[in-house]
């Protein structure tokens, strides 16, 4: 059976030894987020994940959501689990204490998000979307809207959605048609059809708060004519209780490949009452602020799935007796050796291990940057942190989710034919992971965001910031003999990033297809380089750990995994560099009719 135990020790290692989480409590507003409190929070969340959410993962997948006459029922046990989750305060982790949240830093939110998704992705999406709605409202909503909605979203009595997609437009939201007509009382009347709306309808909360993109009657065409509205399922009364049913209804739910316990809804708006959030025609900007946060959240889903997949693969590889080790029996008394002895099985496990551990460090570092960008007293530090976040967001979204899928597939492969069988719970990871590469902007779109928006941003400042961060590290550790085997490959990978970027600068102006054709490869190249950087930091922390001569096996395993990453994963940067420089001509050579 699939297994999941929250990787508390590894999370603690990254927090305390790699990114030094004690810095958080020194930021204004986060005084309570001391390492011991964070530790207690992670441990308690782990209990909830392992004992409540994870057991519902497979049953939720097996049963799926039910639709009948506009009403959606979540699978058995979800309602109770959600109640426990909300009552435990886990819906308001990073929310503002003014609105009833716990006011914890993003770093803590990230650590927990990984665990929530790893134990039950379909479940974790319900509070996840509420949090997206919370963020959008808290940044762009009027004080009145905030007072009315934020406390309910923070304590989980109401949930939220993001309504962007329409049947004829997903990526290209400039084409969207949902209309909003101003009403005499200052509200708007919305009509149109949204599809693929996650958590659009369900039975977990007494109200659902939809954030809807729509067009005002006089709006210009394209993305510059889109506004953001809040459209609740039930219109709130003055005392905060729910009143009249609003004209936004679920017309159907999708039958889909994965995350079956999360309702994906067609939402029909039929003169539904809504209120403008932020400025008219500035809806895309407002949504983008929230989308960047949500993209990092989806990246964490990739990591979460990879972790469960990895744990399930390891457990099976230790147990399954098949074949003999090529170097002589390792389980002489038994009928065969456990498959963990085989180099090819090791290959699968090491790819997963080197991804999850490196990615966790990268993600929690970005969490820390978010907190610095938000609260650091020094403006230059805030700006630097924000540049790095901008740069790393599409990288984390696309690379983590591609790897989530790859790790899920490797787990199935490790399980052999038994991985293909539903009862064992491993094939579910492949199906669940698949959506993360698609929603919140497909991974192809992430790559375009990186190449088209983030690299040229502010005259290339954000890109320079990332390279500067890495070269600063290289300069600091280059002389250290013990670091040589890690710093050198990092330096070479960085050289390949620079070389590839130079090629694009020279060619993409003449032919924009060069940028489009290189985008996904460049994203992967930069992701692997960022991972190599984090593995270097992990090695530095591990050397410190070894000096303290405490828990040597743990640190030695880290260093060994870093070696694997440098030797057997990072060389992909060589071929990526070649691919990019081969240019887009071979991609575009065929006329469309030739396919």
């Amino acid at each position: 059976m699939a297994v999941y135990k929250a990787p508390i020790k590894d999370i603690q290692f990254v927090l305390n030894e790699v990114i030094d989480v004690s810095k958080l409590a020194k930021l204004p507003g986060y005084e309570d987020a001391t390492p011991d409190t964070i530790h207690a929070i992670v441990e308690e969340a782990a209990k909830l994940c392992e004992n409540v959410l994870f057991p519902l993962n497979r049953t939720g997948d097996e049963e799926g959501c039910h639709y009948e006459n506009g009403v959606v029922r979540t699978p058995k046990g979800f309602k109770e689990a959600y109640k426990q989750f909300a009552e435990g305060g886990w819906t308001g982790i990073t929310c503002d204490p003014e609105y009833g949240g716990q006011g914890l830093p993003a770093t803590v939110g990230f650590a927990l998000q990984e665990m929530f998704t790893a134990s039950n992705q379909a479940f974790a999406m319900y509070p996840g979307l509420s949090h997206g709605a919370y963020e959008a409202l808290s940044r762009h909503g009027s004080d009145e809207l905030k007072k009315r909605y934020l406390p309910k979203l923070a304590d989980g009595t109401w949930s939220g959605t993001m309504c962007l997609t329409e049947p004829h437009c997903g990526t290209d939201l400039g084409m969207l048609r949902t209309k909003a007509e101003p009403q005499a009382d200052g509200s708007y009347s919305l009509s149109g059809t949204k599809i693929f709306i996650s958590a659009g309808e369900h039975d977990l909360t007494e109200n659902i708060v939809h954030l809807v993109l729509a067009r005002l009657p006089d709006a210009p065409g394209g993305t510059k004519g889109i506004s953001l509205f809040i459209v609740p399922k039930f219109l709130p009364k003055a005392d905060g209780s729910v009143g009249e049913r609003n004209g936004i209804r679920c017309g159907a739910i999708e039958h889909k490949m994965g995350i079956k316990a999360n309702a994906t809804c067609v939402m029909n708006l039929d003169g539904a009452t809504g209120w403008l959030v932020g400025e008219a025609n500035k809806g895309m900007t407002a949504m983008f602020v929230m989308m960047n946060a949500a993209r990092l959240g989806v990246g964490m889903q990739g990591l979460g799935i990879a972790e469960t997949s990895y744990q399930s693969a390891v457990a099976y590889a230790r147990d399954r007796l098949q074949g003999r080790s090529l170097t002589g029996p390792k389980n002489a008394g038994g009928p065969a050796d456990p498959i963990i002895v085989h180099p090819d099985v090791r290959r699968m496990l090491m790819i997963q291990k080197s991804f999850t551990e490196g990615a966790r460090a990268l993600a929690l570092w970005v969490g820390m940057l978010i907190d610095e960008a938000h609260s650091h007293p020094d403006a230059a530090t805030r700006e630097a942190a924000d540049d790095l976040i901008q740069m790393l967001t599409p990288i984390i979204k696309a690379y983590f989710t591609d790897m989530g899928s790859e790790c899920a597939n490797l787990a199935v492969q490790t399980w052999g034919g038994h991985g293909f069988i539903r009862e064992n719970g491993v094939e579910q990871f492949v199906r669940d992971a698949r959506i993360t590469q698609l929603y919140e902007g497909t991974n192809g779109i992430q790559a375009l965001d990186l190449v088209g928006r983030k690299l040229p941003m502010k005259g290339g400042r954000a890109a320079q910031r990332l390279l500067g961060e890495i070269s600063g590290f290289i300069a600091q550790h280059k002389g250290n003999e013990k670091m040589k085997e890690f710093v050198e490959p990092l330096e070479k990978a960085m050289g390949r990033v620079q070389d590839s970027a130079l090629f694009l600068m020279q060619n993409a102006m003449k032919n924009p297809d060069e940028a489009g054709g290189a985008a996904s490869d460049l994203l992967r190249l930069m992701a692997l380089t960022a991972m190599a950087y984090m593995w270097n930091r992990i090695v530095v922390a591990s050397h410190k750990g070894l000096e303290a001569a405490n828990d040597n096996a743990f640190y030695e395993a880290k260093i060994a995994t870093a070696r694997f990453f440098m030797a057997r994963v990072l060389p992909q940067t060589v071929s990526l560099n070649h691919q990019i420089k081969a240019g887009a001509s071979t991609l575009m050579a065929l006329p469309a009719e030739a396919f």
Partner: protein
């Protein structure tokens, strides 16, 4: 009425225990530690009493190294009001813990002391009973259900043959069994609040207790490995093996 609960820091129940190479004990370095599960039940019961109005204050007690603070914090996050840590790096045997508890009981004057029936590390099942003897109080062991009323406690006890109902006078010591309740998970706001609740740290000397071990551990060994099973052909053969080979019937 104050309720005092004892919480012990033990190796987490999920950890596979390993014996130290020199056979002096089990490996505790770099091993995940948690609150003894029976003590979680004790804390839960005390908090429920407070929620029902039967108790006014819940005090969590622990004895051991400084890290026992974490275990006390867990109890505070569940809902206990304050903590008392008797800090010592010495090996603590049940009698020493009972004496330390008695000293704290003398100070705090609780109406009830609730402890786990045993700790999952040494499985002694002695502290509660010894404490009751030292205090001269009534004791209700292996509690499956508690009801506090009019200066006495009705205790449903788990005994070999089933359940036994007794009524004992307060003040009293209770030891919890597994089915008394299902301990809650601490909520996030309560974890944050626990940080601000007070923990008093005392030394055994200051309480006038000599914690020196009275028992000596000679050697700790792994239990023998389970042998592979065999298939028997008939019931008669099974009975024969149970009687003559295993010697269990």
């Amino acid at each position: 009425m104050k309720v005092l609960v004892a919480v012990k820091r033990v190796i987490d129940y999920n950890v596979k225990i390993r014996v130290k190479a020199d056979n002096t004990g089990v490996e505790t370095a770099n091993v995940k530690m948690s609150m003894n599960p029976f003590d979680e039940i004790a804390v839960e019961e005390a908090i429920r009493m407070k929620e029902k109005g039967a108790a006014t204050e819940v005090i969590a007690f622990s004895a051991g190294p400084a890290q026992c603070q974490e275990t006390i914090r867990t109890a505070l996050a569940m809902g206990a009001d304050r903590g008392v840590l008797v800090q010592t790096d010495a090996e603590l045997q049940p009698l020493a813990v009972a004496k330390l508890l008695k000293a704290v009981v003398d100070k705090e004057q609780p109406g009830l002391v609730i402890v786990g029936k045993q700790a999952i590390d040494d499985d002694s099942n002695q502290t509660g009973q010894m404490l009751a003897a030292l205090l001269g109080w009534s004791v209700g062991t292996f509690a499956n259900k508690l009801n506090v009323a009019d200066g006495s406690v009705e205790v449903k006890r788990e005994v070999d043959g089933g359940l036994e109902n007794i009524k004992i006078k307060m003040p009293a010591v209770i030891t919890t069994d597994l089915r008394l309740n299902e301990p809650r998970y601490a909520s996030l706001p309560n974890i944050m609040k626990a940080k601000k609740k007070p923990i008093e740290t005392l030394a055994p000397d200051a309480l006038g207790v000599d914690v020196a071990p009275r028992l000596k551990t000679l050697k700790v060994e792994e239990p023998p490995k389970r042998k592979a099973g065999i298939k028997v052909k008939t019931v008669a053969e099974l009975v024969e093996k149970l009687r003559n080979e295993a010697g269990v019937i």
